[in-house]
Symmetry: C2
Subunit: 203 residues, 2 copies
């Protein structure tokens, strides 16, 4: 007999507990997800298990830039047609994907693996900063773009990196603040509006 | 070289595509989930893959009641201390779990596997109704509780079942107080479920 707190078989409870840890799913939605997965066993559950195993086995962080790929150096670092003189610094791999979807950047990337945070105790040593300094100092590098979030932690990190990179004789740039494309003016927060006004350009 | 639409390695894209089909996750949250899973490979990704494989391999619908378990008949059907005279009819396995969490019912269950739906083309033959009629006709069965959602389809199904079960000389009851009109059973809080079971009415 099962105790009252365990409703389903232990294998199902274990699956629900793990699904509940997946970002985007909570305890309730994990239960629904588990049921749907078991209902669609052959179309979804078995392929998902296989895809997780395969990715877990093959995907590794790139030893050069920190992005995730099945090859090392990754496809972005080894692509022959990208500009080696430009390095775009981002916090997470998801930011690389976002920039690649936008298709606006044809240089190289560097993934820090997070941002500095006094609150969460993330210090410079915890991020992929030494490798960035090495890469930034290589011959031919013209510009480092600090593409970090406009949050306190993101801007702290950008400020710290700008100081560390200052001695190298290269351009350090940041993403511009402003009105999001397609965004409505009267829905914007004051900080963004202020920044958009400050950095206005003549047309 | 990769085409523009494929940003990450094919193994990662395949994982994201499958995660996006999990109820509760969409294309965007699937990407976030994939990144977090790869970041927490040993704590989350590998165990989740194993849990999915194990559940896919071991969990089967109970041949008696239709609930999911690793044993057949399931733990609820084979528990010696439950009342064989009461059968609670629900649409989905999640409803069994919801009722078990509420802890208000100590009889047996019967999972239909859905509700009748003219719109989705679900007919009586598509549900586990023949087995229910068999079970309801067995000696010793005193009452059938139709614990179906207070939706049009749920109530249509309850009405249909009440008619089919009418000729048997047993009580047919439905959940009553506490079920919000239009509400789904497995999203209800325990207290409401408890009240609904306590105040069930015979039809």
């Amino acid at each position: 007999m099962r105790t009252k707190s365990i409703i389903a078989a232990p294998e199902i409870e274990a699956l629900i507990a793990l699904l509940a840890k997946v970002p985007g799913l909570g305890p309730r939605s994990a239960r629904r997800a588990a049921l749907q997965l078991m209902k669609r066993k052959d179309q979804l559950m078995v392929p998902l298990a296989a895809a997780l195993s395969e990715a877990a086995e093959k995907v590794r962080p790139c030893s050069n830039c920190g992005a995730l790929d099945t090859q090392d150096p990754c496809a972005l670092c080894s692509a022959p047609d990208r500009d080696d003189g430009l390095i775009c610094v981002v916090a997470e791999v998801g930011d690389v994907w976002a920039l690649e979807r936008a298709g606006a950047f044809k240089g190289r990337y560097h993934v820090l693996g997070g941002t500095l945070s006094a609150l969460d105790g993330v210090r410079p040593d915890d991020l992929r900063i030494p490798r960035l300094l090495e890469r930034a100092g290589a011959p031919g590098v013209r510009e480092i773009i600090l593409a970090l979030s406009a949050t306190v932690d993101g801007q702290t990190t950008a400020h710290y990196l700008a100081e560390r990179l200052h001695s190298l004789n290269i351009t350090i740039s940041r993403l511009s603040h402003g009105v999001p494309v397609g965004g409505e003016l009267d829905l914007l927060d004051d900080g963004t509006l202020f920044a958009a006004l400050q950095s206005r350009r003549s047309t």
